[in-house]
């Protein structure tokens, strides 16, 4: 562990990526994540074996990352909402070809070009696959600088272990905010497990083929079911979340990323005002922590989903709860940053209207 450094979230991801053994970054500029690209440029230049490419487009960047991944490198790209839309074809191809790589989406207000303010409107795109075909990507939604450092490393480990693209989603607030961060020591990339599937020249061994084109219907079906099996394993093994003050809660707020930071402040305010309120913060958004929510419905009958969108994770909460409790929603899309007081007001209104203060 190194000493604490005050760093912006975008810089933290880029530094953590290099320390995780990432040796290839390709990207195309877009606000509010240019600091990640900028930092990666400097970091790759000073890292032996590092490559940084400012690509001619987002589509070129994701395909360069696919190439680097095929050649065995830990590789990543980053962008913001409209740029991530452009990368979706590549992400679908990478999922099909079972290639490990990291994509970071610093979400902004949308749809369309929208604006550059913090938003969470890309949840569906991230967690439902985003590109075409039957696939999933691991999606992680960090909420602090330290989590960005720790989860960026995990993202590369997950990608390599499960052979799948991983996405980290944040927003301009997580990206621009500075917090003290302690980085784990850099890994020695020579000690990473060897990858027996990469394309590194077939001299002295049979040639290998990596492709997503499977014209034989039976083989494509088998490939689909193979992916599903992998996704089931991932769901069992890496689903993660944070619980705050849920033990005696009568109302539980569900929020992730930036929204969860604000919601946690709101929950503390509500507690100070005597309301029994807790928070569930999904850390992995896919796989979604459905089971913990489902099990809570035995004792908690009111849930409030707060998102910086018009209601996307809301659907996952409803699917998890299966009608066993009431699911309410409060959303601020388009780049609006709520204050804890605003969310505390929502909590209080709900607490009173559902008469949760009685015995």
């Amino acid at each position: 562990m190194s000493e604490k450094k005050l760093m912006s979230g975008s810089h933290v991801i880029a530094e953590a990526a290099v320390r995780a053994g990432c040796r290839f970054y390709a990207g195309y500029p877009i606000t509010p994540q240019n600091e990640l690209t900028e930092y990666s440029a400097a970091a790759m230049v000073r890292t032996p074996g590092g490559t940084f490419i400012q690509a001619e487009s987002e589509i070129a960047a994701i395909n360069m990352v696919i190439g680097a991944s095929m050649a065995g490198a830990r590789a990543m790209t980053s962008s913001s909402s409209p740029g991530i839309s452009l990368k979706q074809e590549g992400i679908s191809f990478a999922a099909a070809m079972e290639l490990p790589l990291l994509v970071v989406n610093t979400m902004r207000g949308g749809p369309g070009l929208g604006n550059i303010a913090p938003a969470q409107g890309d949840y569906f795109q991230a967690t439902r696959g985003g590109g075409h075909g039957d696939y999933r990507t691991i999606v992680i939604g960090p909420a602090s600088g330290q989590e960005l450092a720790d989860l960026t490393r995990k993202a590369f480990d997950y990608a390599d272990h499960y052979l799948t693209p991983v996405m980290i989603i944040g927003d301009g607030m997580i990206g621009q905010m500075m917090e003290p961060v302690e980085f784990p020591d850099p890994i020695d990339i020579k000690k990473l497990p060897t990858k027996p599937w990469i394309l590194d020249g077939a001299k002295g061994r049979p040639s290998r083929l990596i492709r997503s084109l499977i014209l034989d219907i039976a083989l494509e079906e088998a490939h689909n079911w193979k992916l599903v099996k992998k996704y089931e394993t991932i769901s069992r093994e890496i689903t993660s979340w944070e619980e705050y003050q849920t033990d005696d809660a009568r109302l539980v707020v569900v929020a992730y990323g930036t929204a969860a930071r604000i919601a946690k402040g709101a929950v503390r305010k509500a507690r100070e005002r005597g309301m029994k309120v807790g928070l569930i913060r999904p850390i992995t958004l896919w796989p979604f922590p459905s089971r913990v929510l489902h099990e809570m419905t035995g004792r908690i009958k009111e849930f409030l989903v707060f998102e910086m969108s018009t209601g996307q994770m809301l659907e996952d909460v409803r699917l998890a709860i299966e009608g066993r409790a009431n699911v309410h929603f409060y959303g601020r899309p388009g780049g609006v940053i709520s204050t804890p007081e605003e969310i505390a007001g929502e909590i209080q209104g709900l607490y009173q209207s559902r008469q949760l203060d009685g015995e």
């Binding site: 003290p180 402040g265 204050t339 804890p340």
Partner: protein, 180 residues
């Protein structure tokens, strides 16, 4: 203890650097900190602000519902942040550029003629350290030594004369604020 401070003014007044120096200094003291700058399609002469939270325990929201302290470098900042001050909060204003006073009576108020003091020191670039010195002296949010410690990390590659100028700025701001 948790204290939320906003620094606000025109781009170019060193507003973001003020908040950054406070955040680094408090971090080096072992406190929890968050530094949240505004960003956007900013232009020179436009508004710039940042919110710094300093706390003895984990900081949940880096977004402040209300503010304990505000260091305001121009009039639009006063208009924007006065309503967000918590009761008993403190506004420190650059009176070289803002002649208005807050209308609220439940909020403390200190006027620091930062540009005039900076001119006496021989460098306009010290206005942010003068204001930061005033904040630290009036609130005890951290100490002047901590600020110098934080500064030495931030400007470590730079000249000793710059450190000395910053130290003088902090000192002058503190002296002025304590007389107020």
């Amino acid at each position: 203890m948790i204290k939320k401070t906003v620094f606000s003014g025109f781009g170019g007044q060193g507003v973001l650097m003020m908040g950054y120096v406070l955040a680094v200094s408090a971090m080096k003291d072992g406190r929890h900190v968050t530094y949240l700058p505004t960003y956007g399609a900013e232009v020179r002469g436009g508004t710039a602000n940042c919110t710094v939270v300093v706390s003895d325990e984990e900081i949940f929201s880096p977004v402040a519902s209300t503010l304990d302290y505000a260091v305001l470098m121009n009039k639009p900042s006063l208009v924007k942040y006065e309503p967000l001050m918590s009761e008993g909060g403190l506004i420190i204003i650059n009176s070289s550029l803002v002649s208005d006073s807050p209308s609220r009576k439940d909020v403390g108020f200190v006027r620091i003629p930062a540009n005039d003091i900076a001119r006496e020191l021989g460098s306009d670039r010290t206005i942010n350290m003068i204001m930061l010195g005033a904040l630290v002296a009036k609130t005890g949010i951290t100490t002047q030594d901590s600020i110098m410690n934080g500064l030495s990390e931030i400007v470590k590659a730079k000249k000793a004369s710059l450190m000395e100028l910053n130290r003088k700025g902090l000192q002058k701001g503190a002296e002025y604020a304590l007389k107020f």
